[in-house]
C-alpha cells in the first residue's frame, strides 16, 4: 500500500520524488513527518496514508502459488520479467489487472513473493582439495524448495463482493498468457 502511495506521489510531484531518492533527505524523515508529507500529495497518496494510520488496510483477495499447473499458459516473457525484476513484474501485473477489470489505478495490488532458499552452502570440511557442500550432508537442506506466491489485495470490500476468485484468476491468466513489459 505504502509503496503504491509513494509511487503515485512521486510520479506527479518532482519535489516529493527528490525527497525519496536523496538518502540524506529521506533518512531525515521519521514516521509521522513522512505520513504528513504523504498526506499532502495526490488524493490517492493522501487516502492511503490516512488508511494506514487508521489501520484500514487492503484486504487479501487471492493467494495462489505461482505454478504452471495453475496458470497453464504462462508466457516466457513473463517468466523472464520475474527473473529479471520480480517487483517490477508485480507492479506491471497490478497496472494491467486494474485496467483489464476496468478499475481505477491501484484498486487491486498484486505482489509476487519468493521464499528464500540458499543456493549453495559449502562447509569447511575439505575432501579432495574441495570444500564439501552442505546439501550432500543434510536431507533438510536438500529438501528445501523455493516457492513463489502470487498475492492480490483489494482496496475495498465492495469490490471483493462483486468479483469472484475465479474471475480474478481468469483475468490474471489472460494477462500472463500475453505478457508484455509495458
Amino acid at each position: 500500500m505504502m509503496e503504491k502511495a509513494i509511487l503515485d506521489a512521486a510520479e506527479k510531484n518532482r519535489k516529493f520524488r527528490q525527497v525519496i531518492v536523496e538518502p540524506s533527505r529521506f533518512t531525515a524523515l521519521h514516521d509521522s513527518t513522512f505520513q504528513e508529507l504523504l498526506e499532502k500529495q495526490t488524493p490517492f497518496a493522501k487516502c492511503i496514508a490516512k488508511a494506514i494510520a487508521e489501520n484500514k488496510l487492503y484486504k487479501a483477495a487471492l493467494r495462489e502459488p505461482l505454478r504452471v499447473k495453475k496458470f497453464q499458459r504462462i508466457a516466457g516473457q513473463f517468466l523472464d520479467h520475474v527473473r529479471e525484476d520480480t517487483d517490477d513484474a508485480a507492479h506491471v501485473l497490478t497496472m494491467k489487472l486494474n485496467a483489464r477489470l476496468g478499475l481505477a489505478k491501484y484498486e487491486l495490488i498484486c505482489d509476487i513473493i519468493k521464499s528464500r532458499v540458499p543456493r549453495e552452502i559449502n562447509i569447511d570440511l575439505i575432501r579432495n582439495d574441495e570444500p564439501v557442500e552442505l546439501a550432500s550432508k543434510s536431507r533438510i537442506v536438500r529438501s528445501l524448495q523455493e516457492e513463489i506466491t502470487l498475492k492480490v489485495y483489494s482496496r475495498s470490500d465492495r469490490l471483493l463482493k462483486g468479483l469472484t476468485t475465479n474471475q480474478l484468476k481468469q483475468s490474471i491468466m489472460h494477462i500472463l498468457t500475453s505478457w508484455s513489459k509495458s
Binding site: R67, V68, Q72, G76, Q77, E120, P131, A135, S136, I148
Partner: protein, 148 residues
C-alpha cells in the same frame, strides 16, 4: 528483440530428452551454446574454478523449479558433492508444444553435438574459451566453486 532466455532454456532441456544431470553441465552447455555456437542466450558468465558460471542462469533454473517447469532431484555423492538432476515436468512439455518458439537455425545441431560430450569435456572446452576471451581481468577472477 532478443529471444526469450526462458524459451531457449526450455528448448535445450527438450532437445536433451527432457533431462539434464548436473548444474555444472547445464552451465557449460549454455555457455558453449552462447560463445561457441552463437545461440543468443542473454546470460552473463564469469570465470570460476570449474569454468564459466552464470548466476542469472542458476536463478532461472531455480525459478523453473519453483514454478513447476522442472523437477529437481538431489543426490548426495560419496565425494562430498550433491548432484542435482533436472527433468521437464509434463506441464513444461505441454508449454513447449503449445508455444511457438522460434528455434535458432543451428540450435538443434549444436545441442546434439554438445550432448554427446561428457561433463568434464564440456568443462575443459568452456575453460579454453573463457581463457581465450580474456575474461580473467582484475576484479573478474575466480572467487567461488560451482558444484555438479
Amino acid at each position: 528483440m532478443r529471444r526469450s532466455d526462458v524459451s531457449l532454456l526450455l528448448l535445450l532441456f527438450h532437445l536433451n530428452d527432457g533431462a539434464i544431470k548436473g548444474r555444472k553441465r547445464i552451465q557449460k552447455l549454455v555457455f558453449l551454446l552462447k560463445k561457441q555456437s552463437g545461440i543468443p542466450f542473454g546470460f552473463d558468465f564469469k570465470p570460476y574454478f570449474y569454468g564459466p558460471y552464470s548466476e542469472g542462469l542458476a536463478d532461472t533454473i531455480q525459478l523453473f523449479t519453483s514454478i513447476g517447469l522442472l523437477k529437481e532431484r538431489v543426490v548426495a555423492l560419496d565425494s562430498g558433492f550433491a548432484q542435482y538432476s533436472y527433468t521437464l515436468t509434463p506441464e513444461a512439455k505441454k508449454l513447449i508444444t503449445k508455444s511457438k518458439i522460434r528455434v535458432p537455425r543451428n540450435f538443434r545441431k549444436e545441442v546434439t553435438v554438445l550432448s554427446k560430450m561428457g561433463t568434464n569435456e564440456l568443462v575443459r572446452a568452456s575453460k579454453r574459451i573463457i581463457s581465450d576471451t580474456s575474461y580473467l581481468t582484475p576484479g573478474n577472477s575466480p572467487t567461488r566453486l560451482t558444484t555438479t
